[in-house]
C-alpha cells in the first residue's frame, strides 16, 4: 500500500461527518421515543431495553463523531466543494439513476406484471451500468429472465404480479 493510499484510508470521506451527525440525531430521537413508551415506570417496562439500546447508540455515535473529526479532512481534487466531492466519491450520478430506475420498477410491478416490468428494468439498468451491446441487452436479458421466471414458477411456486404477458401462459 502506498503512502497516499494509507492517507486515503485515514481521511474522512465527503459527507462522513454529516452522516455521523445524522446517526447521532437518529439515536437521540429514538432515545426520546423509547422514553415515551413507558417512561421510568419500572426496570422491566416495555421501554427498558429500547432505552438502554438507544443510550448505547447515542454514546457510540458521539464516540464515532469525535473519532471521525480527529481524522484528516476529506481529500478533494482541485478546489472541489464538499457537496461535489460527496456526489463524486460517495453517491455518484450512476447510483442515483440506478436507484431511480429501481423505484420505477417497484411502482410498475403491479400494473405491468412481473415479466414486462422486469424485462424493461433489466434493459434499463444494464444501460445505466454502461452495457451497449444490443444482443446482450435484448437477448441475454430475455433468456435469463425466462430462466428465473421458470424457476420461480416451478421450484418455488412464488406468486408474482401478473400482467398481459403472464396471461398468455394461462
Amino acid at each position: 500500500m502506498s503512502a497516499s493510499d494509507e492517507q486515503m484510508d485515514k481521511a474522512r470521506l465527503p459527507g462522513e461527518t454529516g452522516f455521523c451527525v445524522v446517526i447521532l440525531l437518529f439515536s437521540v430521537t429514538f432515545l426520546y421515543l423509547s422514553y415515551r413508551i413507558s417512561g421510568f415506570s419500572s426496570w422491566t417496562s416495555a421501554g427498558s431495553l429500547p432505552m438502554g439500546t438507544t443510550l448505547v447508540m447515542t454514546v457510540a455515535a458521539i464516540v464515532i463523531l469525535f473519532r471521525e473529526l480527529a481524522k484528516p479532512a476529506p481529500q478533494l481534487t482541485g478546489g472541489e466543494s464538499l457537496t461535489r466531492g460527496f456526489f463524486a466519491q460517495v453517491f455518484p450520478l450512476r447510483h442515483i439513476v440506478f436507484i431511480a430506475v429501481l423505484i420505477a420498477y417497484m411502482f410498475l410491478l403491479d400494473p405491468l406484471g412481473f415479466i414486462t416490468d422486469s424485462y424493461l428494468y433489466l434493459i434499463a439498468s444494464s444501460l445505466v451500468l454502461g452495457e451497449r451491446r444490443v444482443v446482450r441487452l435484448i437477448v441475454v436479458n430475455a433468456l435469463s429472465l425466462a430462466a428465473v421466471y421458470l424457476v420461480f414458477q416451478t421450484a418455488f411456486s412464488v406468486v408474482l404480479p401478473t400482467g398481459p404477458v403472464e396471461a398468455l401462459f394461462r
Binding site: A46, L49, T53, V63, I64, H95, V148, F152, F156
Partner: protein, 505 residues
Amino acid sequence: MSDFLTNFAYFGMSFTDPYLAFLTAAGVFAGIYVGAIPGLSVTMAVSILISFTFKWQVNEALALIAGIYYGGVYGGSRSAILINVPGAPAAIASALDGYPLAKLGEAGQAIGLTTVMGVFGGIIGVICLAVGAPMLSQLALSFAPRDYMMLAIWGLLLIGSLSGGMMAKGIFAGALGVLFGTMGLDPLTAEPRFTFGLVQLTAGAPYVAAMIGLFGVSEVLVQLHELHFPTVKQKVDKLFPPWKLIKKHLPLASRCSLLGVVIGALPGAGGDIAALMAYDHAKRTTKNPERPFGEGAWEGIVAPEAAAVGSVGGCYIPMLTLGIPGDAVTAVIIGALYIHGLRPGPMMLIETPHLFWFTVGNVLQSCIWLGIFGFMGIKLFAKIVEIPKSSLLPMIVVLSAVGAYAIENNPVHIYWMLGFGVCGYFLKMYGFQVGPVILGIILGPLLDNNYRRAMISAGESPAQFLSEFLTSPVSLVLVILLTLTVLSQTRYWARLTGLFRRRSA
C-alpha cells in the same frame, strides 16, 4: 438403544431421500458459484432464498440452505486463486498465497488441494457439531436468562469488533439491529414500540425485507463503484494433488479445522475471522515452507480453507443449541427457522431431535458434494465468474425484489427492502458493517425477553440483578469473557500483551 437408532435414521434422512439429496447437491453447486462470483455472497443468497422457501417443508429449506452455505464458503477461494479477487470474505486469506500459486502455473493443484482440505475441515466440523452440540445443549439447560442475555451481548460485541474497523461503529450497528428487533407490540405487555401508529408495524420490523435490503441491494450499490475487475486467464490442469502433498499438510489442516470450529462456535464470529486467524497460525508455526508465505506457500491455502469450511460446522453449534447465531449466515438461518415455527435453543434437541440429527447428516452430505463438485466444472466456472456486472447486478436486484415481494405477496416489503438497502449502502460506505445489524435484529427479542426475565427473577432490584452475575459460576465465566473481548479492543490490551512478551523473552 432405540434412541440411537431413531437418531441415526434422522441422520440418514437426507441420504435416503433422493429429493433432499438433490436439493443439497443443487445447493452446494449453486453455492460454489454464488461464493465465487465477486459481489455475490452466501448471506445475500440465503436471505433472498428464505422468502422463496416459505412454503416448503422445513427439511427441504434447510437442505438447500446448508448446501449453499458450504458451497459458498468454499467457492470464494476459487476466485481468490484464479483471479486474485476473493469471492467471499472467508477467502481473503486464501488469495494471499493462492494467486501467487496460480501465477506459478499451479492453479489446478491449488484448487485441488483447497478442495481436499475444505472437505477435510468440513468433516471435522460436522464431527464437532455432532459431539459438541448435545453436550453444550445439556449445559445450556442450566443457563439462566441472564446468561442468554450475556451471550447475546457477547455475540454482538464479537461480530462488531473482530471483523475489523472501529469498535464503536460495530457496537452502533449491533445496537441499531437490536432496536429494529424490539419494534412492534411488546410480547409481555402488548404496548406498542416504535410503531408510529401504523398497524403494519405492530407485528415488528419486516426483518426478511431488512435482510434482503442490507445484504442484497446495499451490496449491489457498493458494487456499482467497481464495475470492472481485471480478469486473468489461468492455465488449469492436474486437479488432483498428489497424496504426498495432502499427507504433508494434514496435521496443519487438522489444527486449523479445530481452530475454525472453535471460532465458528463463538457467537458472532464466522469463517472470515477463522480463515485469517488460521493463516496467521500457519505462518507462525511453519518453520521451513517450500516457498515463503505470500509467494505461493501451500500452507497458506491449506490453513484458511480448512478453517473456513470447518467453521461452518462450528457456527451451527450455538445456533442449534442456544438459538444464538454463530455468524451473519446463521442469523439469517435462524430467521428462516422462526418462519417455519421453530425456536432454536436448548430445548430443540429434546423436543425436535429429528431436526438436529437431520441437520448433522445434511451438513455431512454437503461436505461430500463439495468434494465431488470441487473437482468438476472448472471450465464452466471460468465462464460464469466472468459474467459482466452490468448483467449480474440488475439480476440480483430482480431476485431481491421478488424475494421481498414473496414474503406476503405485498409490494410494501419491496419499499422496505429499498429503504434498508439505501441505508445499508451509506452505512457500508462510511465504514459500518451490516452483519451486526442482522445479528441484532435476531438477537433483539432474545435480549429483551431474557433481560426482563432475569430482572424480574431478581425482584426488580438492580443490585440483586448485578450481584447474580458474580455469584453464578456460568454468569461469572461469561462476564469474564465479555470483559476480555472489550479489553482486547483497547490499546491497554496491546500494552499488556507487549509486557508479557517482553517478560517471557
